[in-house]
């Protein structure tokens, strides 16, 4: 559409890839990103290799866990001698994986979607509401048990609040719907519709 936010809208996945490839084109494969990444030890391919695959159109990219492990510390972005927006590129890959319902990204997606759902309803995140929804939608019955010990410790200290967020902030349904509508304007797949 005309007034469309093409530059920030994700994305027909193919367009998103084309856009990413374009953004990363100046990568000279120096590896400063991989050398700076605090999570690289847990990645199946270091960031440098992921950029290479995207630029050359090689697979696998979306089935890699590399971008899911990016904790947005921005060290690679800070140090990249080409000034490439590498942390943003990682976020774009997360968005594409979410939009495509990539099987390996199911838990991450449930986490983010539950979080956003909580904001949409209450304006602010309700930590208990969000975690409950996450457990229900992640499709992993053992998941709650991993969080239980910490939940109990926080509860004992009075750091878990079962009430909805205080202050009755605006509900954001109209905000979310408009953003989803604009984002979906020029894409066939759209982002996640919760």
């Amino acid at each position: 559409m005309k007034s469309s936010p093409t530059s920030i809208s994700p994305l027909q996945p193919d367009n998103a890839f084309a856009e990413l490839r374009h953004q990363l084109q100046a990568c000279m494969q120096c590896g400063a990103c991989s050398g700076s990444c605090p999570n690289v030890f847990a990645m199946d391919q270091p960031p440098r290799m992921l950029w290479q695959r995207i630029i050359r159109g090689r697979q696998p990219v979306l089935s890699s866990h590399t971008f899911a492990l990016c904790s947005a510390c921005y060290m690679c972005t800070l140090r990249c001698p080409r000034g490439l927006p590498l942390t943003e590129a990682m976020a774009t890959l997360k968005q594409i994986a979410a939009a495509r319902h990539q099987p390996g990204a199911r838990i991450e997606h449930a986490f983010h979607a539950s979080f956003l759902q909580s904001i949409r309803r209450h304006g602010r995140v309700s930590e208990t509401g969000f975690m409950t929804r996450f457990f229900l939608t992640a499709g992993s019955p053992l998941l709650p048990f991993r969080f239980m010990p910490l939940g109990i410790r926080l509860m004992r200290r009075g750091r878990i609040d079962w009430r909805m967020p205080a202050g009755a902030p605006s509900k954001l349904a109209a905000h979310f719907d408009k953003a989803a509508q604009l984002t979906a304007t020029d894409t066939s797949t759209g982002t996640s519709k919760e």
């Binding site: 997360k94 983010h112 979080f115 995140v125 930590e127 750091r159 902030p169 905000h175 984002t183 996640s192």
Partner: protein
């Protein structure tokens, strides 16, 4: 001095102690905080992982609300993730006019309007180190914490990608603030290395490994001081798992920087929310105990 205050969701929930201690020291230092009316979530890291427009429009909504304040005050955010989200949309709007129409359209659903790039966005550490300054804090100290050695932990998003008030790789702003309280400063290499953020929730091994490296490097300090609720909970809540990973003890007190400063101003631990902390060791508690305070 006065600021518009953006607490963010964490500070109304699991990081209530950060909110309590921030307000307590600001009151003690005579600084006025006005909470932004009707503020909503900044999108945290979730919006950015799902929809780039939402990751800009959610923080833009808060800037628009802040702009309605007549006194044109700076916004102060204690949470590094909130700070970065608010700052990012502000920076992007001033450099990328093509992004504005979509954001405007989303804000118009509530008859909100953001003109220009909104009020100036400041991190709590920026305000403390640049506006208030170590000298003013030293003046407010009534009970020097000379028994303590503190490891300053900055984390990531108050430093990067926008180096506003400190060196983004080897930050130093906390050094003078900690020294002002009378405490010693632990020298270490992990001060600006990532805590792994939400990785511990989803990719536990990756998250715990990061947390373990940080806790291990703080060995020798009495406590780590943090300026972000995500860093705080990660370092505070997973010490047992970190110890298992390291094969040695990783117990250390983790406190928010304003709690440390508050203690030196002789504000009680309860008034600083320290009773909510999961990690205070007996040794640390003894050093800050009231008995100690009366002879100190």
């Amino acid at each position: 001095m006065a600021y518009l205050y953006y607490p963010g969701c964490s500070l109304t929930g699991t990081a209530r102690d950060y909110d309590i201690s921030t307000r307590a020291i600001m009151r003690g230092l005579g600084i006025e905080l006005t909470e932004i009316t009707d503020w909503t979530c900044c999108g945290a890291s979730a919006a950015d992982a799902v929809d780039p427009l939402l990751s800009l429009s959610l923080p833009a909504r808060n800037l628009a609300l802040a702009q309605q304040n007549r006194n044109a005050l700076d916004i102060m955010a204690p949470c590094s993730a909130c700070y970065l989200n608010l700052l990012k949309v502000s920076r992007k709007l001033s450099r990328r006019p093509d992004l504005r129409p979509a954001i405007d359209e989303v804000l118009a659903t509530e008859q909100l309007k953001l003109s220009g790039s909104g009020p100036r966005v400041r991190h709590l550490l920026d305000v403390m180190s640049q506006d208030i300054g170590a000298a003013a804090i030293a003046n407010a100290v009534s009970r020097p914490l000379s028994d303590l050695t503190i490891a300053p932990y900055y984390g990531c998003q108050c430093l990067r990608p926008y180096p506003v008030f400190d060196d983004p790789e080897t930050p130093t702003t906390m050094t003078d603030l900690i020294a002002a309280t009378g405490a010693g400063v632990h020298r270490w290499t992990q001060a600006a290395r990532c805590c792994g953020a939400a990785n511990v929730n989803i990719h536990a091994v990756a998250g715990i490994t990061r947390i373990a490296s940080i806790l291990d490097d703080a060995r020798g300090a009495d406590a780590i001081a943090t300026v972000c609720p995500m860093c705080q909970i990660n370092l505070e809540a997973y010490q047992k798992q970190a110890a298992a990973r390291l094969g040695r003890d990783a117990t250390i007190s983790i406190i928010y920087l304003p709690q440390l400063i508050g203690l030196s101003m002789d504000i009680t631990p309860e008034q600083l929310g320290l009773d909510l902390n999961l990690s205070l060791t007996a040794a640390f508690q003894a050093k800050i105990s009231p008995a100690k305070r009366s002879d100190g």
